[in-house]
Amino acid sequence: MHRIIALLMLVGVLVAPAAAQSDRQTTNLTDLAQLVPAEAVGFIALRTDGAYVAQIGEIWEQHNVLVGQPQGSFEEVLEDSSVGEVLAETASWRGDSAIIAFLTSESVTRNVFDSRTNDETRENEAMLGIGITDRAGAEAWLTGEIGAELAPDRSGAFTAYRSVDDESLFLLGDDVLLYALEATRTLDLLLSGDYPNLSDSEVFTGALAGLPGGTAYDFIVYGDAGTVLREANAREFITREITPYREFRARLADFLGHIAIGGVYTNDQDLTIDVGWAYGDPTALTSFGIDPARWVAPPVDTSLYAYIAPGTTLVLHATDLAGTYDLLFDTLTAGYELVKSSPDLVQRTGINPEDPNPVPLLRGGLTVAFAGVTGLNLSADVLSQLDDTDFALTLNARDVGGTLALDAGLLARHTGSADAWVNAVSEAAVLYGYPIFPQEADGGQTFDFSMIIDPAISIEFGEEIAQKPAYDILLGAGDTVVALGTRDMVEYALRAPDGGQPPVAQDLFLPGAQVVGHVDGASLYAAPDSGLAAPFESATFSVIAQPTSMTARLTFSFAPEGGR
């Protein structure tokens, strides 16, 4: 049996770190889904060909280079876990793909989400399949591993092997070896061959269609999240009492819909994970303040990167700061109300359900505080000019004489006159007794907060640090952009686009993405105490929100600096 366990581990190893090169892919990963009953709530398909295994080895090695702490070769890892031995033994008949399917929500929650209850005596309606190229070879291996414990039973195109306890089933066909554990019902179903299969399911194909790469992945994960939660609710809420929190859980099950994840490794350097989420009922949570239609924002315009210094360590880029601000507080407000409605959450958080919701108070307080510091109305004077425009948070970690120096700030395109903001802040400063006036700068004008901030910095870090220009905080206003941050960050934003260069990794973003993030590997590597032993190119993510679905992409590029 330990060989069977090793076979399962093999599947796990192949899924966990990544995937093999898609350009060598020859198998449609979803072919085996036609053997899976359509009721499956979870499905995993992955490549198992030799090239894929080799590629994982390469990724393993690249990882070792980055962290600078060699964990041993991939072969050594495989040998230590017996997986390598199984790989060798199955190499002669193993096909190009494998699948795992969870046929009930309980099988998902027990096998995936709660390993502590993964007891073989319980009902686990899950099945595993591996493509084969040599039925005789597979049968020989299977017979040798299972031995007398199995009772061969020919039926149709499959040879069935049933364990003596009648809870496990192997079905061996010409192209596939299937395994099911504790699966009396699954056994009957598979042997009958009379059932709607997953590959014909509209929700399954619809979910996979949400993946931007189609089926061109090295592994694919599909989950019917709504059904899993719905059945969990049914098990958990044994009484019929309806509370707002239970209502939310029920609505959330309706909302969740189906999720598909695809992973692929391309160009010998880019590891990409895509997520496609098709909401069930997009309006199910509207009454709880969650409306996916409000998540939709204009796509980012990557020309904003022209205003950000090349090699900036971290960039988070999105659009519609005004809408984001509203959405944040509305969601927090709804979330607090939800917590109040759950006695369990009330007990855990210690909040008093009788107290007023603090989030609107916080928002109102922020409005008053912002006005009190700037004389401006946050919504009417500022956010209204940032409606639907691009904005980015940036952080640049630099090595200055062996010390970590940070350039950070907020950059945004505006549709009005940012000069008015600078003038308003200056007038406010004067009223506070700080005669700080706007300064003409290359590309706009700036307001320097140093006179206000330096005294506090000098107390904390010493006068020498306080007087360094690198630690000056500026508000800068240009014709089309406004920036608040450290001097270098703001002055670069105002000078651009003359010297701006978009980061090379932006081609890894999803086309039309509304939120993107970018980590520059070389910059991170160069920062003091980064923990990296070698540079990598980038880590990026991008998100597209639609009223009925959401797509996300995470890409880690191992390419060395300038390698693309």
Binding site: T333, P356, P360, G364, V368, F370, G433, P455
Partner: protein, 551 residues
């Protein structure tokens, strides 16, 4: 020695009694509080005078008697009878005064600068009085008689008793033709600044200039370069006076006459226009119900606040710069720590404008007219039934113009929405109710309740915010409701007019409410009807009248 001590104690008692906040009736026959200024040098820095005539003593005894009778606190001996029995009444004239000469420096001994002068109407009686108590006396070359009493000398002339140390006593101006304080233009300015002219039973004159000049070195040490002469000149002269305005009304008045120049020039700072309060219209009090016990009125609130913040901002910065140059750390010189009030005021101005999205003009239109804050205190229940409750109902009324109240209402409504507060729209604005736990406090003996319901109202000419029970706007019985205006009619003649500020407290009403919980509170307040303050200020100076009215 015992006799001397008694005499000294008696004199002290006399001076203290006369300094009590009371005064004699102002009549044409009353002695002027400025008479004895004709004996003080023209450069006198401090002059204190008081009436000692029988009419004043009688009035004082009458006042003490009324208070004693109303409160139940016994006063065994009237002042008049005490003075008579001690033999003082036989010789005591109509006035007494104390004046202080300018110090050479801040370390000058004040005792050597002060001289006391008491009018004597019967020299023989006075001579007998002091001889009996002090024994041996000396006859000076000018014929005056001098007694030595534990340091200061007492000199008895034909009609005066002069008390002083060293050479100070010699400064009394007896010779005709020499310039005296009465001839001083600065003294006259102080008198002109006083609301009641010369009708004071007690009067204090103070000239700040000589004191500032004397303190020059110390000021320079603390604040850096300062033109002390210019600063002293601008500080000008001050007057304080105590008077009886009618048989039931007594006042403590303050007057200030500023001199030429400005404090900023004296401190070598940028010249800043100082905020000036606007005149108030007492008719605006017609908006406040008569049973409100506290009323505070001003005008030009927004402009005054903003201009004062702007002025002090400039001042703050310049003073901070001076402190930084003197070596103070930037952190300590930060306005937040250096002048926290300036920080709060600036925040208030900016937060009001920004969070309400109102322009300076709109806020001026809404808040630069008359503004009144009022409070009504009422009680229900009783301690015996263990249900005594005090209800506090506050309210603020502001005269608006040019749509200012509507703009303010719009801004406040938007801000409230941002706070997520639930309000109920009303005809002229909105209302809301405070949660019980946020508006009540149980001391275990008394239940204190802040008015639970509030309204914000905006009409063409008025903004109201406060307890919904206190506003008269929209009430069917509007015409019939008594107003504060009616309650203060009697004191109108005594108010400084035009005034820039007014405050009124219904002492009798408060006493009646407090008396429910503790009868002694009502007894303490029993003699009083009300307290009121009126004031006026412009660039040339200021006047303040703080008065109380007996029942």
């Amino acid at each position: 020695m015992l006799t001397r001590l008694r005499a000294a104690a008696l004199l002290t008692l006399l001076l203290v009694a006369l300094a009590l906040p009371t005064a004699a009736q102002s009549t044409d026959n009353s002695p002027s509080p400025f008479n004895l200024a004709g004996l003080a040098p023209a450069n006198t820095m401090l002059y204190v005078s008081m009436r000692t005539d029988p009419g004043f003593i009688e009035t004082l005894d009458g006042l003490i008697g009324r208070v004693s009778s109303a409160t139940g606190f016994p006063v065994n001996n009237a002042l008049g009878s005490t003075l008579s029995s001690e033999g003082v009444r036989d010789w005591l004239g109509d006035s007494a005064a104390l004046f202080m000469l300018p110090p050479v420096d801040i370390n000058s001994n004040p005792q050597e600068l002060m001289v006391g002068v008491v009018e004597v109407r019967d020299r023989d009686a006075a001579l007998a009085f002091f001889t009996e108590r002090f024994g041996e006396s000396f006859t000076l070359s000018n014929g005056y008689t001098m007694f030595t009493v534990m340091g200061p000398s007492l000199i008895l002339t034909e009609d005066l008793l002069i008390i002083g140390q060293g050479q100070a006593a010699n400064t009394v101006q007896f010779e005709p033709g020499r310039a005296t304080l009465l001839d001083s233009a600065r003294f006259q300015r102080a008198i002109d600044a006083m609301p009641a002219g010369d009708a004071y039973a007690g009067f204090v004159y103070f000239d700040a200039r000589p004191l500032v000049v004397a303190a020059g070195p110390e000021i320079f040490e603390d604040f850096g370069p300062v033109d002390v002469a210019a600063l002293g000149e601008w500080l000008g002269v001050f007057g304080f006076g105590i008077a009886q305005l009618d048989p039931n009304t007594y006042t403590l008045d303050f007057g200030w006459s500023a001199g030429e120049g400005s404090p900023f020039a004296a401190l070598y700072l940028t010249e800043i226009p100082l905020p000036q309060p606007a005149p108030i219209d007492l008719a605006f009090l017609d908006n406040i119900p008569a049973d409100a016990q506290f009323v505070l009125q001003g005008a030009g609130g927004w402009s005054s606040l903003k201009s004062s913040v702007e002025a002090t901002a400039t001042l703050t910065n310049e003073l901070r710069t001076r402190l930084l140059m003197s070596g103070m750390s930037p952190f300590d010189a930060s306005p937040l720590f250096f002048l926290p009030s300036q920080f709060l005021n600036a925040f208030t101005v900016l937060a009001t404008q920004g969070s309400l999205t109102l322009t300076d003009e709109e806020l001026s239109a809404a808040l630069d007219g008359d503004v009144v804050a009022a409070l009504r205190l009422t009680s229900t229940g009783s301690p015996s039934t263990d249900d005594l409750t005090y209800l506090f109902e506050p309210g603020v009324w502001a005269a608006s113009r040019d749509g200012g109240s509507a703009a303010l209402l719009e801004g406040v409504t938007a801000l409230i929405a941002e706070f997520g507060a639930e309000v109920t729209p009303t005809a002229n604005g909105f209302g809301f109710t405070l949660p019980q736990d946020a508006s009540a406090f149980d001391s275990g003996y008394i239940f204190y309740q802040l008015a639970p319901g509030y309204e914000w109202q905006a009409t063409d000419a008025l903004t109201y915010f406060g307890a919904d029970s206190l506003t008269l706007e929209g009430r069917e019985t509007l015409v019939a409701v008594p107003r504060v205006t009616e309650r203060i009619e009697a004191i109108h003649p005594f108010l400084i007019q035009p005034a820039t500020g007014f405050a009124w407290m219904d002492v009798a009403g408060i006493g009646a409410q407090l008396g429910v919980a503790e009868p002694s509170y009502e007894m303490v307040t029993a003699p009083f009807d009300s307290l009121f303050v009126s004031s006026y200020q412009d660039p040339s100076g200021a006047a303040v009248r703080m008065a109380f009215r007996l029942r």
